[in-house]
Symmetry: C2
Subunit: 206 residues, 2 copies
DNA sequence: CGCTTGACTTGACAGTGTCAACTTTACGCC
DNA sequence: GGCGTAAAGTTGACACTGTCAAGTCAAGCG
């Protein structure tokens, strides 16, 4: 945590401090707990100080979201790394990384997946978002066929992973619970099939 | 809109009026615009009047959510009715109803799909939720095989529909736009396969 | 007629984002 | 080196939020 030097008038790096404070608050208290004034307090600064660095709360959230995208991308890359070379396994891997990010950093997840226009324009956030999406596009590429282009395959994978992550978030699915909601992504993944995988999901082949 | 009789002390049906006011506000201003005080004002009553009928804002939202589930269920049933008798077509139909509800009543959609525990316990909301879910379970039944039970199939369909709806909400998918985001659910649906449908998504067979 | 109970109003409080005015510091320029 | 200016942070205010406590008023009942 970067705090303002006591007594000094200038913080030195308030912008960065506010973003870091925001990330901490998000992990501790969730998205609802994120407040401009709390960020300011945690950075050791008065409640209106952020105004000089962020026009409004949306601008601060946008800056935090840019960081969140990087965590998100890392999580997806880790999921891919855990998978082998098989294209289908890599799709499963990136999906697992996607879902792990959504569950372990749920506030960040909900900070970045927000309707277009929620935050003011921000090239840094756009860049981080594009970078993360390129990872998904690359993995999708390997299971896409010319017949149905890249983006359709990408959206199919994306929809499945995102939807499953949301069902966990709202408690409709609860992997490892042992009750009726105990459905893992590995159970669901076989229902997603690609040209190279003429899968009957009831087969054990994967 | 049910308003309080001018001058009279008792409203008569404030509980119902607050719920209806809430539904209107949700459709007009979205989930962010829903406020206890605005509901009270629209019902023609003072800002603290709702306290006698709803302990807190969560209880009011819960009551509104119960209504929203009914709209949701209707939308799914309409989607099914538009499909024929083929089980797979009925899955597509309910998905289209699901997605239509999410786009046309996005505030209601986000009101009902919230983490478990967001609202106080409410038997009415639970009943409405269960009723809606039973519709999905029934449609899933027809494409499920004993090998992988009902609920797994249900979650697969649910994940796909929910995820796709969310991608539209956040603007990552924009059907009918003509640009790179122009991907319809019919494009994505074939990637979902069941035992009875050994589908290669590149085939035209659907 | 009077009392009790429920429904609603009024006023307050803390917390939120945002704005305007003020103070203080740091930096460039002569 | 001193000084003026612009940036950075503080203070105080405003409207809005949910929530609570106290008061008012009406309906119903013994």
């Amino acid at each position: 945590m970067i705090k303002k030097p006591q007594g000094k008038q200038h913080h030195g790096n308030l912008k960065e401090a506010l973003v870091l404070a925001g990330l901490e608050i998000l992990e501790e208290d969730g998205l609802e707990g994120l407040t401009l004034r709390k960020c300011a307090a945690r950075a050791g600064v008065s409640h209106a100080a952020p105004k000089h660095h962020f026009d409004n709360v949306g601008a601060l959230k946008s800056a935090i979201a840019a960081r969140a995208y990087k965590v998100f991308e890392t999580s997806m890359r880790e999921g891919i790394a855990e998978a082998g070379d098989d294209p289908l396994e890599r799709v499963r891997g990136i999906s697992n990384g996607y879902i792990r990010f959504a569950t372990e950093h749920n506030a960040l997840f909900n900070l970045i997946f927000v309707p277009h226009g929620t935050y003011p324009p921000d090239p840094e956030r756009d860049a981080a978002s594009d970078s993360a999406r390129r990872v998904l596009a690359e993995i999708s590429q390997a299971v896409a066929t010319p017949r149905h282009g890249l983006s359709v395959t990408e959206v199919a994978i994306w929809s499945m992973a995102h939807g499953y992550a949301k069902l966990i978030e709202i408690g409709r699915v609860l992997p490892g619970s042992g009750d009726g909601r105990d459905i893992s992504f590995d159970d669901v993944f076989p229902f997603l099939t690609f040209a190279a995988d003429q899968g009957d999901p009831s087969s054990d082949a994967n």
